[in-house]
Symmetry: C2
Subunit: 234 residues, 2 copies
């Protein structure tokens, strides 16, 4: 009476990926337009079925599906949550494991598998779409994780072209957090975290007053480096 | 060329549950001894396969498996993370969704399905066991979530017999957090959160000095009520 694979009707298992970036200072998310049923023609988070013959684990499957459907490679993927029930997919009981990342803008590929288009959408426009399956809910879950995570990581630094001013950096954090930051406190925390170095390049000419200093991340800065930009603490 | 269920070899899908409680002030976790292969005879977190015919969603499946295997009903279940790869289960590519809860001590049932025993283990003893599959890792993930969550919820209050003293309450928080708390700060935060009421009962006789006041949770206190007992903030 021991279990054998095939004894049970197993749920479908997919991975989905919410990739965020900043384009001209505005938060964007990467969506694909579905080429196949169900939800053909709808926009969706890139994702798809686990390939039990080739994928070693969930995170690898997520990276593979992202690349196959958009041409984009994520520098890291963070697991957000897992949704699973009898109704979210018309093909049957379905489980999806959601991953997310915030990364520098990368172009999408022209040829992609099983989708008719892959495009960076301004987040607010994406949220107003009727996305496939429960992807509006998944996108909201990923966006909340991104905001809460941004309160204590340096992730937004990697969305900026170098070199950047502290004002540009603060604007990037504010856009990803979805909330304003107090300038003096932000600068004190960022500078005391010792993660930036002055670029040494001359600031662009023009403007009034003292020109803003230009910075870039210190060599070897880890994505998961810790800097608390909001809330209590130093 | 549209997808049909059965076209792909789908991973096995299970749910596992880490249920914590305090027994005589010490953190315990609920484990079952496996009656079947694989890992027959090993202790494991209670869990099992999704039943796609009867389970409506992942959380319901987790509650059902917990009850079937231990007789215990959890008042809530929080999703912790999902593990999935080609090697964690000898039966094949396997995904498990991990849930956790902290609750008042409840007795285990004498008759349970597919397990030979269900027992509350002191956490440190459980961690020293070689548990089935990757359950040592899952238990560690659940324990970390419990600790971080306890920093800002009232959950440990529900593990105590009423009425309790503030010292007993602080000890419960410290055991679940796995870290000491500063007495004066803890009392200020708990009392200013306005979640306790004096029980009105006479404290036990004896002892020196002023007897400690006895408290219980205010009626209607929500499990997810917010009180920050450690770190910055008021």
């Amino acid at each position: 009476t021991n279990y054998q694979a095939g004894d049970y009707s197993s749920p479908l298992v997919t991975v989905d990926v919410a990739i965020f970036t900043l384009i001209e200072g505005q938060l964007h998310v990467l969506l694909v337009q579905r080429g196949n049923h169900p939800a053909q023609g709808r926009w969706a988070l890139p994702g798809g079925f686990i390939d039990t013959d080739s994928d070693l684990d969930l995170s690898e499957a997520a990276g593979r599906k992202l690349h196959e459907k958009t041409g984009v490679n994520a520098p890291y993927l963070e697991q957000v949550c897992t949704a699973g029930d009898a109704r979210r997919d018309p093909r049957g009981w379905s489980v999806t494991v959601l991953y997310m990342a915030l990364m520098a803008h990368a172009p999408t590929a022209e040829f992609v598998e099983t989708v008719t288009d892959a495009r960076w959408w301004p987040l607010s426009s994406a949220q107003q779409q009727h996305l496939a399956f429960d992807h509006n809910h998944l996108l909201e879950a990923a966006r909340q994780r991104l905001s809460s995570k941004t309160a204590y990581t340096v992730l937004p630094i990697h969305t900026l072209d170098e070199p950047f001013t502290l004002t540009q950096l603060q604007q990037a954090f504010e856009e990803v957090l979805g909330a304003p930051l107090e300038k003096k406190s932000f600068r004190r925390r960022i500078l005391s975290a010792d993660i930036l170095e002055e670029s040494g390049e001359a600031p662009p000419p023009g403007g009034r007053g003292r020109p803003a200093a230009l910075f870039r991340p210190k060599a070897g800065l880890e994505d998961h480096a810790f800097v608390r930009v909001v809330g209590e603490g130093r």
